[in-house]
């Protein structure tokens, strides 16, 4: 029995609903994951144990806001495009998904560039810890989304699978990216503005 023959008899609308529901749950799991960092930020900041939240008195880590804005813009753009793909005609999907992927990859690249010229490190007290942890793990999740977008592009390009399932994949990826964009907004506000 080959995989294809079995899949051929699966009902496409159930497959599509699976993707839709699965993407919602995955988005919720991701949100709870970052909730931990959200909480860590606010909690450690409020406690300010031994007055060391921001670091040593003469050395307050502060990441470059230019990088922050650039990453934010890329992630928001990627999410906006991926999300609105569900609203446009399927012929446009190739373009939209490519654009979303490019922007997401740009965000990953920018984050790596920022890390290499950060000016402080994980050892620089609590704020620095949260900064490094949050942005680092966000990048990991974003890379995961890049993989998903790449597979969607492949399917859309080759018109593999059924149209409903492709539509669900486009929609689901857009949804998860949207939630990630929400996380990124929170990260930007807390890590770059509030500090």
């Amino acid at each position: 029995m080959s995989a294809a023959t079995v899949d051929a008899v699966e009902q496409p609308d159930i497959l599509a609903r699976n993707i839709r529901v699965g993407s919602r749950i995955w988005a919720a799991s991701q949100a709870f994951f970052f909730l931990a960092f959200f909480f860590a930020f606010l909690y450690l900041r409020a406690l300010n144990t031994s007055g060391m939240w921001r670091g040593w008195p003469h050395h307050h880590p502060s990441p470059s806001i230019a990088f922050g804005v650039a990453i934010l813009v890329c992630v928001l753009g990627s999410a906006a495009i991926a999300r609105s793909a569900a609203l446009v005609a399927p012929e446009m999907w190739r373009a939209t998904e490519w654009a979303a992927l490019a922007l997401a990859l740009a965000a990953v690249g920018l984050q790596c560039a920022q890390f290499s010229s950060l000016g402080f490190g994980p050892t620089d007290a609590a704020y620095a810890s949260v900064f490094v942890g949050w942005s680092g793990l966000f990048t990991v999740f974003l890379l995961g989304m890049c993989y998903w977008l790449a597979t969607v592009i492949g399917d859309v390009t080759r018109a593999s699978g059924t149209p409903v399932v492709r539509a669900a994949a486009v929609e689901g990826a857009g949804f998860v990216l949207l939630v990630l964009a929400g996380v990124e907004i929170a990260a930007f506000i807390l890590l770059y503005v509030v500090k």
Binding site: M1, A3, A4, V6, D7, V9, E10, Q11, I14, L15, R17, N18, V21, G22, I25, W26, A28, S29, Q30, F32, F33, F34, L35, A36, F37, F39, A40, Y43, L44, L47, N48, T49, S50, G51, M52, W53, R54, G55, G121, P122, T123, A125, A126, Y127, A128, S129, V130, V132, G133, L137, Y147, A150, T151, G154, D155, T157, R158, S160, G161, V165
Partner: protein, 631 residues
């Protein structure tokens, strides 16, 4: 990719090559060395990594690459790479073939269920062995059998192993195997993810065990920072294995939830859903939301240890309270991840052997969902004397006590179902009934812990230890064995010996209570948890407890003997529906065909209509009039 054509049997050695467990092990071991080397290179030039006497980066990279190697060797990389190269999406993989499919990536939910049963079972027995070793140490009030550090490692390994493995004790084997059948589906929503969730479990178990070789674990299963920050390399094994298990649990939750939401057969309305499936749904909500928080908090420990961040180091702006909050925000839902499936199992078994409909079905559902919701709001009851938020203590006392209302519903369901019933005391029924006895004691003892004045004495004492063993062992493990005796005839196709089953039950039940009830007293008498030495006047009590614990161990050996006897020697084929149950899973042939159903059935009635005059059969298996679904 299937390197093994089934038609012409190649020689055995040839069949061992390919994507399977052996390859996974080989690549995993290779990956460990590669990763450790890379990690060593990474640390060069980073002073904050060299400030410590061991390079945790190397250890984590070793584990990471070992896991990657393991998964690649099992064949998990083939599909993602294929997808990137343009392969069409497909769901299923390697579902036919001989017994070897149990040792490789297989997406048949029934195979995964059995893999889970034996995989998790093995680690469960390793955890149980640890308990026996601990009880041996506690025979005398002074250090005798093991040095203090080894005893501590035993406690931590036992606790961590048990929590990790029993989190999917019911959802893994029985959720994967029976949920699709019970809702009239052919597969899970994401079969490949399903296989992944299982194969992460042995990786996590082996990594946890590797802690023995790396200086052990000194923190218990809770891994409190900053003790975790200063622990030796065994702590890295703890962190890594917990991350893997938490990822697995998240995905188990995602997969089961999606399956139940989208793949119910026509006619399977929410009010006809078997109560076990409801409990799985509730549990998977908790898993999908709580386990990611564990991944996050473990990642913070990882960074504290490997990169010298200071999430939990007070002198550099961190706080140990952060860890406690995050850990218990996961940890309390976790205890309901352990408890809820047990509720589902016993309420599933009760009607069958009481020969009555499940009494108060809606109440049971409300109870499970209520527990799910409330369990996110109680976590600070673990921190009553920690010194954080004294003003919030009444709130957490209230929410904790509130949770006993929905839990009480489950008891009312049992009471109502037994009312004027025709009870048959089969082995599964005995386990289900014992569940209520044990959980009653476990639950009521929890009320002491939820009351702050009382918790001042009981917190961190053996009282807590007795309490959670009553709920986890007395609840979950008893429900698990109930499910084993109830469903194994369907899963493996053979009957289990009933006499041996009853001996197992009675020994386990009696000596479980003899082991753990006295420990409430030990806690009341000032014996703290996690110690290998204790006050001399408690020795008699501890000897009694240890002796009883050994008998529990014996009862488990009897269970294994029963398995071997029934499955290897007697091999008495089980009837298709030996319990005359109305459950949909009992209406399919034994062994269950790969496709489960010829046609997707149309559900025509609820599963518990015992004694209802003219109740229709549960489902129409050849829905001729309707368009053949899924064919």
């Amino acid at each position: 990719m299937s390197a093994t054509p089934i038609a012409a049997q190649p020689p055995v050695w040839r069949r061992l090559i390919g994507f399977n467990m052996l390859t996974g092990l080989a690549l995993g071991i290779g990956g460990w060395f590669l990763g450790a080397w890379i990690g060593g290179q990474m640390a060069v030039g980073h002073p904050y990594l060299q400030g410590t006497d061991q390079n945790d980066v190397g250890i984590y990279m070793g584990y990471l690459f070992a896991v990657i190697g393991w998964l690649v060797g099992l064949g998990f990389a083939n599909y993602p790479i294929g997808r990137l190269l343009g392969r069409a999406p497909s769901l299923r993989h390697h579902e036919t073939g001989s017994w070897t499919r149990y040792f490789r990536l297989c997406t048949d939910h029934k195979v995964v269920g059995i893999q889970y049963l034996f995989g998790v079972g093995i680690f469960f027995f390793i955890g149980g062995l640890n308990a026996m070793l601990m009880r041996t140490e506690l025979l005398r009030p002074v250090e005798q059998a093991w040095p203090a550090s080894q005893y501590l490692t035993l406690v931590s390994l036992h606790g961590t192993m048990m929590i990790m493995m029993t989190s999917a004790f019911i959802l893994g084997p029985f959720g994967n195997y029976f949920v699709p059948i019970m809702i009239g589906a052919r597969r899970m929503a994401f079969p490949r993810i399903e296989a992944l969730t299982f194969w992460l479990v042995p990786a996590a178990g082996l990594i946890l065990l590797s802690a023995i070789a790396f200086g052990g674990i000194a923190t218990g299963w809770t891994g409190y920072a900053p003790l975790a920050d200063e622990g030796r390399a065994g702590m890295d094994a703890y962190v890594m294995s917990f991350i893997l298990i938490a990822i697995s649990l998240t995905l188990v939750g995602l997969n089961l939830m999606a399956t139940i939401l989208t793949m119910r057969a026509p006619g399977m309305s929410w009010t006809r859903l078997p109560i076990f499936v409801w409990s799985v749904l509730a549990t998977s909500i908790l898993m999908a939301l709580a386990a990611p928080v564990l991944v996050a908090s473990m990642t913070m420990v990882l960074m504290d240890r490997a990169a010298n961040t200071s999430f939990f180091v007070a002198s550099v702006g961190g706080s140990q309270y952060l860890y406690e909050n995050l850990f218990w925000f996961f940890g309390h839902p976790e205890v309901y991840i352990l408890a809820l499936p047990g509720f589902g199992i016993v309420l599933e078994i009760l009607p069958v052997f009481a020969r009555k409909p499940l009494w108060g079905y809606r109440l049971a559902v409300a109870g499970m969902l209520g527990v799910t919701l409330l369990s996110f709001m109680v976590w600070q009851h673990h921190l009553f004397v920690s010194g954080m938020n004294a003003g919030l203590r009444p709130f957490y006392m209230l929410t904790t006590e509130l949770i006993s209302i929905p839990t009480g519903f489950i008891f009312l369901n049992a009471i109502g179902t037994l009312w004027r019933a025709r009870i048959r005391f089969t082995v599964p029924m005995l386990f289900a009934l014992a569940f209520f006895f044990n959980f009653l004691i476990g639950g009521l003892s929890g009320i002491f812990l939820s009351d702050v004045p009382s918790d001042v004495t009981t917190h961190g004492s053996y009282f807590v230890m007795a309490h959670f063993h009553y709920t986890i062992v007395g609840g979950l493990v008893f429900a698990f064995f109930g499910a084993v005796y109830y469903w194994l005839p369907k899963m493996l196709g053979f009957e289990l010996n009933e006499t041996l089953g009853k001996i197992h039950f009675w020994l386990f039940f009696v000596f479980f209570n003899l082991t753990f009830f006295p420990l409430f007293a030990a806690g009341f008498l000032d014996m703290p948890r996690r110690v290998s030495t204790y006050a001399p006047h408690l020795q008699t009590l501890n000897i009694f407890v240890s002796a009883s614990a050994y008998v529990i161990g014996l009862s488990m050996l009897i269970f294994i003997a029963n398995l071997i006897w029934s499955l290897v020697f007697v091999r008495q084929p089980a009837a298709e529906n030996p319990w005359v149950s109305r459950g949909l899973e009992w209406q399919v042939p034994t062994p269950v065909p790969i496709e489960n159903f010829d046609r997707i059935p149309v559900i025509t009635s609820g599963p518990y209509e015992y004694g209802v005059p003219n109740a229709p059969p549960v489902a129409d298996f050849a829905p001729g009039a309707l368009p053949a679904a899924g064919r």
